[in-house]
């Protein structure tokens, strides 16, 4: 029986606590008496027979929807959209959930005599997926059946010929999505709900949308009004997507949503990585040896090798639920299932929050976690993994640990380099950045070219990363990065510290001597439910 997440009060007997630190780890002693650690739940039981569960979900839909078997008709136009490389994290061992679901869907489509089928990676403004990545996601069988005929595509948010303007929401937000999808008799969306932010109308209204449409909710105002964007009902980001979903629905776009959830089994229960999801006082001799060995070995390796090793890690996480049918009803259930794994009840806020940032974020799979992504991972994703209120009080201090190297993947993140060199050197204020720089990056011909033909994130994407941080930037009194490249950290507008002790000292200038501390023991992912 997997144990739920819990909050540990640090005392003098508490062993050093694990902090992820990019492609490495730190073991830090937290001050006794005023610190607490939030631990994630252990991986919950996966579905015994995932394929059968998928088939069951398809014919027993949730909400106002007919079974998929009834929706599939000969001669219809069917589009299957699926989540891109940003999910799940880290990438999962084969077979990917998407492969299972898509194969099950296609089996039914074949039986129903559907000829016109198109598969689209719903990547919005993310980079196009490579052949290997697509093969991993949908499986070789589906790839070989569709890709050679041009029926398996990456969505292109900058292709004027393949976008369709649908309408505007009551708040004036323009809705424009992939034309093929919009003109299909049915869109089947295959989702992986890693965190509670994913899924729902965000799948279609964001994943298949154009820049013109996305800018209405990917902006500073929306992010500052999403408290947090991980909590659908308190998230302006989601409200906007739901409004857009209504426009889609009213215009006759029909979506059959298939959402899946997965458990926290990121590092496995065996092997050297398994120590990373154990609680420190339960580390066995083998665990201690493997941690010591890993740390030593990693220290000896060049950065490139370390990155390769970590990027090659495929997580054994397994599917815990699948639900299909009408978008909103499905998503309610999905969210509840995600919460089952992630939610940890926490009492009240503290002055300081600490977190160890791992090597991966949604935007650097097979790539480099550049400084902007470091900021986004900490201030955007981890900070927002709360329901109610953040675990750190307003005006408090956030201490993150990551090497933050001044390094970028030139193919994947070309506009990030320019954003870092030319925008952040001017200002780190999201509002100024949005007003002064966004347009020129979003409309830059070269970025557009690289996004459409190579494997680059859209020119505007680094801005979104920065907007993602805006709620945290507004909330926090200071951000400190431990063990980071000093110049890069300063460029981000944060304070560099060489050790956690230094960082805590620096923080005491802002929040006083006896400040209380919360450490978020993530990953595996947890979501603080703060009362």
């Amino acid at each position: 029986m997997p144990r739920p997440g819990f909050v540990l009060d640090v005392d003098r007997s508490t062993p050093p606590i694990l902090f992820h630190h990019g492609e490495g780890f730190r073991l830090e002693r937290l001050p006794a008496g005023r610190s607490r650690v939030i631990y994630p739940a252990e991986p919950i039981e996966p579905l015994k027979n995932p394929d059968a569960a998928i088939r069951h979900a398809l014919v027993n839909p949730i909400g106002d929807s007919e079974p998929l078997t009834a929706l599939l008709k000969p001669g219809m136009k069917l589009t299957i959209a699926f989540d891109d490389i940003s999910l799940p994290l880290p990438p999962m061992k084969r077979p990917d959930i998407r492969q299972r679901v898509i194969e099950a869907v296609l089996e039914l489509a074949a039986a129903a005599g559907v000829d016109d089928v198109m598969l689209i990676a719903a990547l919005a403004l993310h980079r196009r997926m490579t052949e290997a990545e697509l093969r991993h996601a949908v499986g070789d069988r589906v790839y070989d059946a569709f890709a050679p005929h041009g029926l398996l595509l990456n969505h292109d948010a900058e292709d004027p010929d393949n976008l369709l303007f649908i309408g505007t929401t009551e708040k004036g937000e323009e809705v424009e999505i992939n034309k093929r999808a919009a003109e299909s008799d049915l869109i089947i969306y295959v989702n992986i709900n890693l965190v509670s932010m994913d899924g729902g109308w965000k799948s279609t209204a964001t994943g298949l949308a154009s820049y013109r449409s996305l800018r209405h909710h990917h902006n500073v105002r929306t992010m500052q009004h999403s408290r947090s964007f991980m909590d659908r009902h308190a998230s302006e980001l989601h409200s906007a997507n739901w409004r857009m979903g209504k426009v889609l629905k009213d215009s006759g776009v029909k979506v059959f949503q298939i959402e899946t959830t997965m458990n926290n089994n990121v590092f496995g229960t065996e092997g050297p990585m398994s120590v990373l999801q154990k609680r420190e006082w339960e580390w066995s001799l083998t665990d201690r040896i493997s941690m010591a060995g890993m740390k030593t070995a990693l220290d000896l390796m060049p950065q490139r090798t370390r990155r390769q090793i970590f990027q090659n890690w495929q997580a054994p996480h397994a599917m815990t639920s699948v639900q299909a049918g009408e978008v909103e009803a499905v998503h309610e259930l999905t969210t509840a299932n995600v919460y089952k794994q992630h939610l940890v009840p926490v009492e009240g806020q503290t002055d300081i929050m600490t977190m160890g940032l791992p090597y991966i974020s949604p935007y650097n799979v097979n790539s480099i976690l550049n400084p902007i992504l470091v900021a986004c991972l900490g201030l955007g994703y981890f900070f927002n993994l709360y329901r109610g209120k953040p675990p750190v009080r307003e005006g408090g201090v956030l201490i993150m640990s990551h090497p933050t190297p001044w390094e970028f993947h030139p193919v994947h993140h070309p506009s990030y380099i320019d954003f870092f060199e030319q925008v952040l050197s001017e200002t780190t204020d999201p509002i100024r950045i949005e007003a002064e720089f966004e347009k020129s990056f979003a409309e830059d011909e070269w970025y557009r070219h690289l996004y459409r033909t190579s494997h680059a994130y859209h020119g505007v994407h680094p801005f979104y990363m920065w907007y993602w941080c805006s709620h945290a930037l507004q909330h926090l009194g200071q951000v400190i990065i431990v063990g980071g490249d000093v110049r890069a950290v300063r460029r981000l507008g944060f304070k560099p510290a060489s050790t956690l002790q230094d960082a805590l000292e620096m923080a005491s200038d802002v929040v006083g001597r006896d400040a209380t501390i919360t450490h978020i023991h993530n990953p595996p992912i947890l979501m603080a439910d703060v009362h």
Binding site: P50, R94, L106, D115, R141, V142, F146
Partner: protein
């Protein structure tokens, strides 16, 4: 040199008195009887008097060969060594196999029956190396008793190296079934070629219901497997194999349903392999579309004359691929 205590005539006399075949005994009787004649006489069995019913001797080889010893740990270890150090390198070198669909087995647990089409002697070693862990280490094979267990040299060889148990082609033998069911219940997985024999022309024979019967009896799933290219590696009738590319396509496991009988389930297995064949030659989606319409190309090929069957099988690519005349 040690002296033989008897001279030739004395020996002849002794031998003649033994219960041996009379006809042979007579040849020994001549004074010029050679050593070889004496030996032959000794080896022949005596003639049986009329009216006496002699118990038929139970053959120790053929279908009755007892292979239990081949599943003891030392034998398994020896098989592992042979497989990894001899068989695998040879298979890799000759057939450079590509495996497809292994991911379909990921949720599978416990013993299974791998049912593959059969084209060549290369099929067995190929499958033995291609079947993924954990099934590979506890795999046994139903092999034709009249081919693989004909004598006392070949029988242990078959049992040890390929982990075979003897199965009779023509009739349902109790022993084979009992052994198979026992082994399946014990957690061993089975490799079986339901066609019963290698195909003569590359097109498959009708699948017999052996695999289906065992699956239903043992409650074990069947994994359909489509083998391609092994006839290029070692075609029936050739004495030696040659280099070619082989492919192993694993299908999704199928379980017999409540209304399946041996015949219908065997047909389902055959269709599953046919679907894999179609999937491999076209693609997964088209194969499924054809399967849904019931027009999956038959494994047995078109019902036509032999040249047209051969012609259909070779396909335009293969026709152009290998020229039988020298290049000019």
């Amino acid at each position: 040199m040690a002296r033989i205590p008897l001279n030739r005539s004395q020996t002849t006399a002794v031998v003649k008195r033994l219960p041996i075949n009379r006809m042979v005994a007579n040849t020994v009787g001549r004074s010029s009887a050679s050593v070889s004649r004496i030996a032959r006489a000794l080896l022949t069995e005596p003639t049986v008097p009329a009216g006496v019913h002699k118990e038929a001797k139970v053959s120790k080889v053929g279908a009755n060969y007892d292979t239990d010893w081949a599943r003891t740990y030392p034998a398994r270890f020896a098989r592992l060594i042979i497989r990894t150090t001899i068989m695998k390198p040879i298979v890799d070198a000759l057939a450079s196999p590509s495996l497809e669909g292994v991911d379909r087995l990921i949720d599978l647990d416990g013993p299974v029956i791998f049912a593959a089409n059969h084209r060549s002697h290369a099929d067995t070693p190929l499958m033995m190396t291609a079947v993924p862990e954990p099934w590979r280490d506890r795999l046994f094979i139903g092999a034709a008793a009249d081919y693989w267990f004909t004598n006392r040299v070949l029988s242990p060889f078959s049992a040890l190296v390929i982990g075979a148990i003897p199965v009779e082609r023509k009739k349902v033998s109790r022993t084979a079934i009992d052994t198979s069911l026992e082994l399946l219940a014990d957690g061993w997985s089975m490799l079986i070629f339901p066609e019963g024999a290698r195909s003569p022309d590359g097109w498959a024979r009708e699948f017999t219901s052996g695999a289906a019967f065992l699956s239903i009896k043992a409650g074990v799933p069947v994994v359909p497997v489509y083998l391609l290219g092994t006839d290029e590696v070692w075609s029936k009738g050739n004495r030696l194999p040659r280099r070619a590319q082989a492919t192993v396509v694993f299908g999704s496991p199928i379980m017999p349903t409540a209304d399946d009988d041996n015949r219908s389930f065997a047909l389902r297995i055959q269709n599953a392999v046919a679907l894999l064949a179609d999937e491999h030659s076209s693609d997964w989606w088209q194969a499924r579309r054809r399967a849904a319409e019931g027009v999956t190309p038959s494994l047995q090929g078109p019902p036509a004359d032999s040249w047209r069957r051969a012609w259909a099988r070779s396909g335009p690519e293969r026709r152009g691929g290998r020229r039988s005349w020298p290049a000019v």
